[in-house]
Amino acid sequence: MTTGTANPPPAIAVQALRKRFGATAALDGMSFDVAAGKVTGFVGPNGAGKTTTMRVILGLDAPDEGRALIGGVPYGKLRRPLGHIGALLDAAALQPGRSARNHLLWLAHSQGLGAKRVDEVVAASGLASAIKRKAGGYSLGMRQRLGIAAAMLGDPPVVMLDEPFNGLDPEGIFWIRGYLKALAAEGRAVLVSSHLMSELEGCADHLVVVGRGKMIADTGVAELIARSSGGRVVLRTGARAEATTALAEAGGTVAVTGPDTLTVDGLSSEEAVRILNADGVPFAELSAHRASLEEAYMDLTRDSVEFRAATTQTSTQASASGEVA
């Protein structure tokens, strides 16, 4: 990687991380960059290495190989780390007997910050009325808010959250999505992990998709959806048979996707309208299909799921033969 003065280093650079826990390769050459001003979704199935990657970024776990940099600097070299990156790894990591405010207070003191900054992040978190209560009595949603408040103590340019949607009610999910988008709009880099693509719908601008300890795709959300939607048309009609015949003759691939719904591949919506009108087939609605983020994700990872299954089989055989030897 060449870094000129004109190109500031990425907010987070993950470079060829490898780490084994016993026989398991948790990270197997994980690499990606996270850019400022965007919400980057960090997605993959459970066990794909998301949390381990985040721990390495924070200097908590040491990689066997590779490195992670925050604004070009390894975490261990940061003198006031919370001013460079705010992270929420585990919202349950609280001393139950300590009040939420005192939790933020010690963390602020560790960075040379005072009670005033604590009050600011508390106000932004919406926890002000409950902040003097013991953290042990907090619901999961309140803990997530408290964890995000803690991550924001140092007003960092980079924010990293591990599964912040876990266990949240719809209102909480809505709040976090809005909060993350606002942080990105302020120019911050936001990396947010999830094993459920739907949680990132309408929130993530960019995706880093990972599986089995390595990056599978690094793509913009808009491009990904456009690619997945690829010229598909959804048609609602009472005359299913006629429509199928007409569209198939014109070269489309027609699939029945509901009692009165057809999905057509290979024709644009304009072509489909022209063909149906020409043949006099009635229809109630015709729209260009827009893939959901989840569909796009499934398209993207279909191959790698097969790849994963194969790898699993191979490694099982390998360990079996290892036992024999």
Binding site: L58, L60, D90, W106, H109, S110
Partner: protein
């Protein structure tokens, strides 16, 4: 908290962490209460039984304690002293031609007034003494200097009870008499000895600034109790019995301005003065002096001129006021260990390490805060316990042994340091094992278990001393005020309050354990994934 930068802010954060968990604050306050409270159990049980209520109203029934010297040190000062007055500079010279004794190994004296030493065995005690003495009058506890022969410790110069200088290690027999000499020049007394009265060897000098112009000079004999300690598992038993020593001084010469004739205590005079029942039994009945040769005396005495070692039933030692330290220590160990293990249990350690990626500094900040707070708790607890427990003992008319202000400060500061270093030790062990129960158990087994085994009279003395020397429990030596005097035979075991190491060396043993555990904890914390 100094500074908003670097290490200072980590210390600030750790202090905030500690003070914001109510259970820990309660634990630390409890540590002070337990230290004082357990210490109070001692005087609560103090009771003086008076069996002579007929002749004394109850309020005058109290423990008077042993006599004291000018500094407040408890002393024994009983001997048979043949003396006369010397004014100004001068010297005393005497030849000791025979030195022997009797003792009673079965503990009892003779029941027969006509033969008080019947049944006693022939032999000197190691610290039986016969020699010459220059003393500020005959009052108990007054300043003195002496040159003397002992039962088994050779010829020595001693002064003012606590000072002891060895001379040649020779035994005095009728075949090998010994010449002893003390000279006074102003405040300086110099002791000499000689095999032949012609060639003199200096043993030592003493500066006795408080000695008046006129002093009593002469020859004396005394002999401390016979004592044999049998120690085994389950405790130790002590056999004691009275003893006496007889020294024959065939020639005595005094130079300088003397006045009056020799004052010679008659045989049995001390016993008569005592007057109690049984006074005519045992050594006191035969103590006294008779003339021997030309101008000499044969002197028989019992007792000692030496510092008094606190023994059972003789009053309370100052350090007994800190007997509750182990209780406070347990509370401090629990809090110190939990401050670390709870972070592991909750996953909070990752938040802490993310806030302080330089991990060694995190451990150091915790150690500074826990050590500092524990030191303060110990200072308050011991600072209250020592005067408060002593005051209650006094109110119960118990005798409490003397300790200098300097020694009391050392006890209090030492106890605070004991708590502080133990807290750091517990923190380090907690960092290594990462489990609260395991860490607390390990540290209590390391510090408090050997302490209790050593002092609780369950082990043989050798095993107890070994524990008090090589385990972290050695640190309790920092509370010891009693002195193991080399010139006094006594049972100097941890059970009796005597630790084998000096106060600061004992604390040093704990410091070594804490430092070793800290080094391992530091290394593991830096190397392990969080």
């Amino acid at each position: 908290m100094s500074g908003r930068d670097g290490f200072g802010r980590l210390v600030h954060a750790e202090w905030t962490k500690l003070r914001t968990v109510r259970g820990w604050v309660i634990g630390l306050v409890l540590a002070a209460f337990l230290t004082v409270g357990f210490g109070m159990l001692g005087p609560m049980g103090s009771q003086i039984a008076c069996d002579h209520v007929n002749d004394a109203p109850t309020h005058s029934c109290h423990m008077s304690g042993p006599p004291k010297d000018a500094t407040g040190q408890e002393v024994d000062d009983q001997s048979t002293f043949v003396h006369r007055t010397l004014t100004g500079d001068g010297s005393v010279t005497a030849r000791l031609t025979a030195f022997g004794g009797l003792y009673s190994p079965d503990g009892g004296g003779s029941g027969d007034p006509s033969n008080p030493t019947a049944g006693m065995t022939s032999g000197l005690q190691p610290w039986s003494k016969a020699g010459i003495l220059v003393k500020d009058g005959t009052a108990t506890g007054s300043p003195y200097a002496a040159v003397l022969a002992t039962g088994t410790h050779g010829v020595r110069m001693q002064y003012d009870y606590t000072h002891d200088t060895a001379g040649p290690n020779v035994a005095v027999t009728s075949g090998a008499p010994r010449w002893l000499r003390l000279t006074r020049a102003g405040d300086t007394l110099t002791g000499y000895e000689s095999a032949d009265g012609a060639t003199w060897t200096e043993i030592g000098t003493a500066d006795l600034a408080n000695l008046p112009q006129s002093v009593q000079v002469g020859v004396f004999t005394t002999s401390p109790d016979f004592a044999v300690v049998k120690s085994s598992f389950g405790g130790s038993s002590t056999n004691t019995g009275p003893s006496l020593a007889t020294g024959t001084f065939d020639q005595i010469a005094v130079t300088g301005q003397t006045a009056g004739d020799w004052t010679v205590p008659a045989i049995g005079s001390a016993a008569a003065a005592d007057g109690g029942p049984g006074a005519l039994q045992g050594p006191e009945a035969v103590a006294g002096a008779v003339p021997s040769g030309t101008g000499g005396f044969t002197v028989t005495g019992t007792g000692d001129i030496a510092p008094s070692a606190p023994g059972e039933g003789a009053g309370k030692t100052p350090e007994s006021s800190l007997a509750g330290t182990f209780g406070g220590l347990i509370a401090v160990i629990v809090v110190a260990a939990l401050t670390m293990t709870s972070e592991y249990r909750r996953g909070l350690i990752r938040t802490s390490l993310a806030a302080s990626p330089r991990r060694g500094r995190l451990l150091a900040a915790k150690a500074v805060v826990l050590g500092g707070v524990s030191f303060a708790v110990g200072l308050v607890a011991a600072g209250i316990a020592v005067p408060a427990v002593t005051a209650v003992e006094h109110s119960k008319r118990m005798y409490v042994y003397y300790a200098s202000t300097q020694t009391e400060i050392r006890m209090v500061v030492g106890t605070a340091a004991l708590l502080a270093v133990s807290a750091v030790f517990a923190l380090a062990v907690a960092t290594i094992v990462r489990r609260g129960a395991a860490a607390v158990a390990a540290v209590i087994v390391a510090i408090i278990l050997p302490y209790i085994l050593a002092v609780a009279s369950v082990l043989p003395a050798g095993a107890a001393e070994w524990l008090a020397r090589v385990t972290p429990a050695a640190a309790f030596a920092v509370q010891q005020t009693v002195t193991a005097w080399p010139q006094v035979s006594a049972s100097y075991t941890p059970t009796n309050g005597y630790f084998p190491l000096s106060p600061w060396a004992g604390l040093g043993v704990l410091c070594l354990y804490a430092a070793a555990a800290y080094a391992v904890a530091h290394r593991l914390l830096r190397r392990r994934d969080a």
